[in-house]
């Protein structure tokens, strides 16, 4: 009885969330993988087990190749863009400018907006009309005499343009992460470097940046997993058009338009796996680090 007193209250407290996560996260994941391994290609059929057949077959579809390419372009531009911009903002703020709190709030605000609202505004900003038909950014560029773009309707670089709203939205968050990281670097270390004859750039290059590695890694994981499962932004900007197709949109079309649950589940599984590639090494790394401490 006495022993139970020490662990039972804690267990009771976490039980609801354990049950919820077990059912709604792992239960649903398992159900999805099971569905992906059947031939339930319409809503009414029973679905026989076919192993990994769906996972192989999907690579025969040109649309799948296209959506994977799009996801890669989007991820590279979005993750790099947000990291670089966020780092730059944090770097400027770290210098102790006047009104830092205000700037920090301004840069963080976009995060409070949903991707859908961002998408609807940027759909207008990135309208592909040019010259006399230009609106949004093209109108501005036209006035300034800058080249005008097709934005997300560009056949080659459309997905890079699609990443711009996401960069706009998330770079403030990355800035906050880096700013906390910068502040976490003890002043003594910088002083010591300066005393040893290091110039200001050298201080950042050899002292601050290496100490920021864990922050960069967390930012990378967070941005990477948002990017791989992006859906709301794409749908708000362009709907379910092939020109901006990504796996999550393809999944939606497979389930709701093609009425093919097994195909939808297959794509969902691939999305989960691609996110896992990002997240699992991070989890292993952080568990190891905790042990070491």
């Amino acid at each position: 009885m006495r022993r139970a007193r020490t662990w039972l209250p804690g267990l009771l407290l976490v039980t609801p969330s354990i049950i919820l996560i077990a059912v709604f996260v792992y239960g649903m994941l398992g159900w999805n993988f099971r569905l992906a391994m059947t031939d339930k290609h319409d809503e009414v059929s029973e679905g026989e087990f076919v192993g990994l057949q769906n996972f192989i077959d999907i690579w025969d579809q040109p649309r799948w190749h296209l959506s994977v390419q799009h996801a890669i372009v989007f991820t590279v531009v979005f993750v790099l863009g947000a990291l670089v911009l966020g780092w730059l903002l944090a770097f400027l703020m770290e210098k102790g400018i006047r009104g830092e709190g205000t700037f920090r709030a301004i840069y963080l605000f976009p995060m409070a907006i949903s991707f859908v609202a961002t998408g609807i505004v940027w759909r207008w900003l990135m309208n592909s009309g040019t010259d006399e038909r230009a609106v949004g950014l093209n109108r501005l560029f036209d006035t300034l005499g800058l080249p005008q773009w097709q934005w997300f309707r560009d056949p080659d670089w459309g997905m890079a343009a699609m990443a711009l709203p996401a960069v706009w939205q998330m770079s403030g968050y990355v800035m906050a992460l880096f700013l906390a990281g910068f502040r976490g670097v003890p002043e003594e270390l910088r002083e010591a470097a300066r005393v040893d004859g290091c110039n200001e750039w050298g201080v950042y290059r050899h002292v601050v940046l290496p100490l920021l590695r864990p922050v960069t890694l967390s930012a990378l994981i967070i941005l990477g997993h948002i990017s791989l499962k992006v859906f709301d932004l794409i749908v708000a900007v362009s709907g379910k058009q092939i020109i901006t197709d990504v796996p999550a949109v393809f999944m939606w079309v497979a389930v709701f338009d093609s009425h093919d649950p097994a195909k939808g589940a297959t794509i969902a599984s691939y999305i989960v796996l691609s996110v896992a590639i990002f997240v699992i090494p991070y989890l292993i790394w952080s568990v190891r680090k905790e042990r070491r401490q």
Binding site: P9, E43, R123, R153, Q241, D257, S258, H259
Partner: protein, 431 residues
């Protein structure tokens, strides 16, 4: 002991909280469609009529419904998006969750097959007998919407897909004498407009390209060969289809920058920025209705119409219809709505505003003027062909496959791959 109590009570509270969340969600959905503050029963009507013109038509029909049925209130569950592409996804999740709307809009024809096969719809044959609807709808229409002798929907209107909208001023400026009659004349006219620096053919989101495709297929192949494409074992690899797809590729070279939906594309024609637009006749209401709901343009001077080149004498039809889902919460209310939707009064209130003609044969012809008078005349004399994009000729998975191929084609411009893709889609889905 105290720690115990605290832990136990927190656990209880969180479990209760969860239960309350779950229950609350359920209650809310149960409540919103069935009862409102006045004690009246709500009827949840699900449609995709939110655009200018179509929303006015729905409002007119709603007024009649509420006058005739003082005990019911109309709950408008419309979801925006041309051709219902967003609405259908939401509908699917409502049906799967077992919380269907009381009645939902669907295109009559093959589109409803999936719902019928999944057992989502109730047989309305009894309602047809009660209202003697088989006598007032054209025989051919009743035949086409019947599945194994049963009817699952009430058609409210007939739309035409194969309409070429054009701006007479822009054509005159470009030196085009009148609406082109054949595909070759059409391409020549597009070229002349292009030379003047205007947009030859305005276009919207990717689905409007599929709309152009169905029209070019019909225009190139003729009604009989087109209709045969949707029979089991049809040959989509034939040379006629190749020619049609080459025409499609040629015509799409003249398309302007894609707009967000069909309305902005139609507006380019009305504003004189573009010469032609291929869109269904729902565009008429948008062109013609006064500025709150439409563009307030004058027909024959600001905009004009003709059958899509090569399709004269054929009426490519589609029909919006309402259904009775199994498990509707307010079944009587839904039936009351279906009765209004089927009535002469309801259809005559709805159609002139929506820009369509009634499915009933006994409509008041004097209400249908201008474009709609032409449409009524053609409907009774022309050959019929079913629309692809609007759910008559193909079921939803087949349509999704065709849209996918058209979307890929817009990127690659590869006619051969398009034909192969369409042929594969037909083999996989024709039944």
């Amino acid at each position: 002991m105290r720690r115990w109590l605290v832990a136990a009570s927190i656990t209880m509270v969180s479990v209760l909280g969860l239960a309350a969340c779950g229950g609350g969600g359920g209650e809310q959905t149960a409540q919103s469609p069935s009862a409102d503050s006045g004690g009246k029963q709500q009827v949840e009507v699900f449609s995709w009529w939110t655009g200018p013109g179509e929303a006015d038509g729905l409002a007119a029909m709603r007024k009649i419904f509420e006058e005739k049925n003082p005990t019911y209130t109309f709950f408008d569950a419309a979801v925006a998006g041309g051709s219902g592409d967003k609405a259908k996804a939401l509908l699917q999740s409502k049906l799967q969750a077992g919380t269907p709307p009381d009645t939902f809009q669907g295109h009559a024809g093959a589109e409803l097959q999936g719902y019928i096969k999944a057992g989502n719809l109730e047989d309305l044959t009894a309602l047809y007998d009660e209202l003697k609807l088989k006598e007032v709808f054209p025989e051919q229409l009743v035949e086409q919407i019947s599945v194994e002798g049963k009817i699952y929907s009430v058609p409210v209107n007939i739309h035409r897909s194969n309409v070429l909208w054009f701006n007479p001023g822009v054509l005159k400026e470009a030196g085009v004498a009148g609406a082109p009659k054949t595909i070759d004349e059409f391409v020549a006219a597009l070229e002349k407009v292009k030379a003047k620096g205007k947009i030859p053919l305005s276009i919207g989101a990717e689905w409007t390209a599929t709309h152009v495709l169905e029209n070019v297929l019909l225009g190139s192949m003729g009604a009989d060969a087109y209709n045969a494409l949707f029979k089991p074992g049809a040959d989509w690899n034939s040379p006629q289809v190749t020619t049609a797809l080459q025409n499609f590729a040629k015509i799409m070279e003249y398309a302007g920058d894609p707009q967000d939906d069909w309305q902005p594309a139609a507006k380019q024609v009305a504003d004189g920025e573009a010469a032609f637009n291929i869109m269904g006749d729902w565009a008429y209401g948008y062109f013609h209705n006064p500025p709150e709901g439409g563009l307030g343009k004058k027909s024959k001077t600001d905009f004009d119409w003709a059958p899509v080149p090569g399709t004269e004498g054929t009426y490519m039809w589609l029909s919006d219809s309402f259904t009775l889902p199994k498990g509707a919460k307010n079944r009587e209310g839904a039936e009351a709505w279906l009765k209004v939707a089927a009535s002469k009064e309801g259809q005559d209130a709805f159609n002139p505003l929506k820009g369509s003609i009634p499915a009933r044969k006994d409509a008041d012809e004097s209400l249908y003027t201008d474009y709609l008078a032409d449409a009524l005349k053609d409907w009774s004399s022309n050959k019929l062909a079913g629309s692809i994009q609007h759910g008559v000729a193909v079921n939803q998975p087949w349509l999704a496959a065709i849209n996918e191929q058209v979307g890929l084609f817009l990127g690659t411009k590869d006619v051969k791959a398009l034909q192969q893709g369409l042929a594969d889609a037909a083999t996989a889905n024709a039944q």
